[in-house]
Symmetry: C2
Subunit: 454 residues, 2 copies
């Protein structure tokens, strides 16, 4: 095994001062979100009851290319950023590939994932606007942990609905949120109407991100001075995550290379957008040839097998209608261990980009993802989150193609988080207890017919 290693760091003053808003540069802008009752396009103020006002403005901002990072947020970024850009010599050697593989290591944040990049921003704006309580949903718990800490930091109370299957699969993440002082409830719960409605029909339902979102939105709506926050999907979340790609751009310069491919796992799109958009800017504005590959789980294939259509962002239908690649808001994903990818839809920006063929998508089965994760762990020492394993698997596929063709392509992927809290999943994989999930066309069609009526 090679013990050659190289990481690239940025000095504090090189940490971005602006987020990059790709909406401003897109030739085809995302379609507007619609009021489900009237089908009228929404204005920022229509979203004020749910989200902090500045976040609503960011969500629908299609004109400003750069949005300034507030100094208190950047101050916190400096605490764990820049994250390292690493040349994965170990993985290259294990694969025997001529490809040059780099990864952006977002797992070094105190929360163990990229999620803190947006949690800090969202908690900050809430605090600025006089909010006292925040609610959210979480799958694997990476986002919930990040929001719990950010809330604590800015003096807000946090209530988190965690998808029940993850609450049970990953009890340590619940403990982390509780250690930060957050209130954590498994979803679906009996504490909301949305939760009760689902449990009445299906008492054993193990939950989904769509359901947990409904519960959190309902709590925000019925609690004074409380706002809802979301960890992915929405455009303002991807905006905050662009610090990843903006740093990576400078770090790739230090490495003296430019990526031919950029790969990230895909749940709602925020870590994908975070690393891809700043590079995609050069594709849009300068015609730079780069492939952008989203790696989604085969059991939740909205990009590769879903439909581009207006749909709700949540199970109960509390959100506006969003123009997205979707499997239908009532789609119940299989119980894969990558809890953060178990979501039915894609954010509106990535959906438009996929429609316009500016990016591609691949689907990865559960066993291939863990096989890739173990190979990476042994080669690079870092145990990746089950979500990130999908990006690694897609990277390995491309690196193997390079081995066949002999091409020295430059691949950059986002290591969105570590898997230290997910060792029970690795245990099951190593014991041969994990399976793949096949999804028939009929199963997919079933939920898609529903949304045609919206």
């Amino acid at each position: 095994m090679s013990n050659k290693r190289k990481r690239f760091m940025l000095a504090e003053e090189e940490i971005p001062r602006y987020w990059y808003n790709i909406q401003a540069d897109m030739a085809n802008k995302p379609l507007p979100p619609l009021n489900p009752a009237t089908h009228e396009p929404l204005k920022p103020e229509d979203l004020y009851p749910i989200f902090a006002e500045e976040l609503c403005r960011q969500e629908l901002n299609q004109t400003d290319e750069w949005i300034e990072i507030p100094e208190p947020v950047r101050e916190m970024y400096k605490y764990y950023r820049s994250t390292p850009l690493v040349r994965a010599y170990g993985l290259e050697e294990a694969l025997g590939t001529p490809a040059h593989i780099y990864f952006k290591n977002e797992s070094v944040s105190p929360m163990g994932s990229h999620k803190l990049n947006s949690a800090l921003a969202q908690a900050y704006y809430c605090k600025q606007e006089g909010v006292t309580n925040v609610t959210t949903e979480t799958g694997a718990g990476q986002w919930g942990a990040a929001l719990s800490y950010a809330a604590r930091l800015f003096g807000l109370e946090a209530a988190v609905y965690q998808v029940k299957i993850s609450y049970e699969q990953k009890p340590y993440r619940r403990s982390i949120m509780q250690t930060y002082g957050a209130q954590v409830t498994p979803s679906p719960s009996m504490s909301t109407r949305a939760g009760k409605d689902i449990l009445t029909v299906n008492p054993n339902y193990q939950g989904s991100l769509g359901t947990a979102i409904s519960e959190a939105i309902e709590l925000a709506r019925t609690t004074p001075n409380c706002k809802y926050t979301l960890g992915s999907v929405l455009s303002h979340v991807s905006l905050h995550q662009t610090v990843i790609g903006l740093e990576a751009e400078k770090q790739m310069e230090l490495a003296g290379e430019y990526p031919d491919m950029i790969i990230a796992c895909f749940g709602g799109g925020s870590n994908f957008g975070g690393i891809a958009f700043p590079f995609m800017r050069h594709t849009i504005l300068e015609g730079k040839q780069t492939r952008y590959i989203a790696a989604e789980p085969a059991s939740c294939p909205k990009l590769t097998r879903g439909k581009f259509h207006y749909d709700f962002g949540d199970e109960a239908g509390y959100t506006p209608l969003l123009p997205m690649f979707t499997l239908g808001h009532n789609f119940a994903p299989a119980h894969i261990h990558a809890g953060g990818l178990r979501y039915h839809g894609a954010g509106v920006i990535v959906s438009q980009l996929l429609k316009d063929k500016l990016m591609e998508a691949v689907d990865i089965q559960q066993l291939e993802s863990f096989e890739a994760g173990c190979l990476f762990a042994r080669a690079e020492g870092i145990i990746p989150a089950p979500e990130s394993c999908h990006a690694i698997a897609a990277t390995i596929r491309e690196a193997k193609k390079c081995k066949e063709t002999g091409e020295e392509k430059v691949i950059l992927f986002n290591l969105s988080g570590h898997g230290l809290i997910d060792m029970a999943s690795y245990d099951k994989y190593l014991a041969g207890d994990l399976v793949n999930y096949e999804l028939s066309d009929q199963e997919i069609e079933k939920n898609l017919e529903e949304i045609d009526k919206l």
Copy 2:
């Protein structure tokens, strides 16, 4: 809560090229290890059957102040070092102290602790000398995980004996070792004579580091081309860990301050020595006034209540006799969750330094340690390892004294690892299920009488 943050990093070329060997500068050198049968002082070659030869020479080297870090080891250091030095503004504010608190964040290594610093060196020397298999013991599993990864990196097979109580309390760490491809056995086991002897007397014995060491040494002795490695206690381990303090010295310069106190938790002494020795050099050579405080668990108080005496390093008596502060090699520590601190003795260098009053020690009860850990997690975002919580608790005691006196003392502590794998322990703490352990003088005397006969 303050969101002011500051971290100090070093450029790659500033990463140390030499380890600092404090033995060369000590006025009173550590007494030599003795052959238990003849009571003759040992020479390096007497240790060759157990350890890699270069490590034996380093162990007894009392003349060379600086020992060069082999380039392949330094290459790997560059992968995760420098680790950040952080000004803990959040903790200062939470305490309302005028003290300036800094911590060296060793938790950012891919293994989550400082242990990799020595694991890389030990695996490298073994590989250089043609060894094919390595064995070791581990408590909480931080060392076992680090050695498993380092072994994998240098192409060695690893077999790890994990203290049974930790094997059960922290199953994720076992999974991590297995993910790296190591063979993990709970200790005491029936696979060695040492294990069998103990299980015969006490079938329910939950293990200790001393027992696991015996088992690993026995396996090394009875396996061709296999060497034993140790994660703390020995002088060569502390030597490798001085990269921590050497970096911290330069980083404190960047911060424009010099520590009045240096604090670390204490199991065998390697993370304490790692951060303290490079600073202590200035105390020994230039008379610099700095306090060095080791924080040990009240349930395993070798420094504060043990005896300076020749004793075995392991339960079964396989090691040479070492001049150390000890509770007796048959001391069975209470089942505290800081598994890495459950060891009966202190390394020979720190033992001599304590005898010579160049350093101090304090003991911390389990509940105080977790209370400190939770306060730190909420203030700084990082969940500390239960071991590191002891250093934080000692830091908080000193910071509170500063609050009383109004003194702006500069405190530097070592955050030896994160506690993400230890969330079950935090869970128990938050649920009120953890207790303190009181240790009577009689219990301590009992084992100390034994060693008088050695």
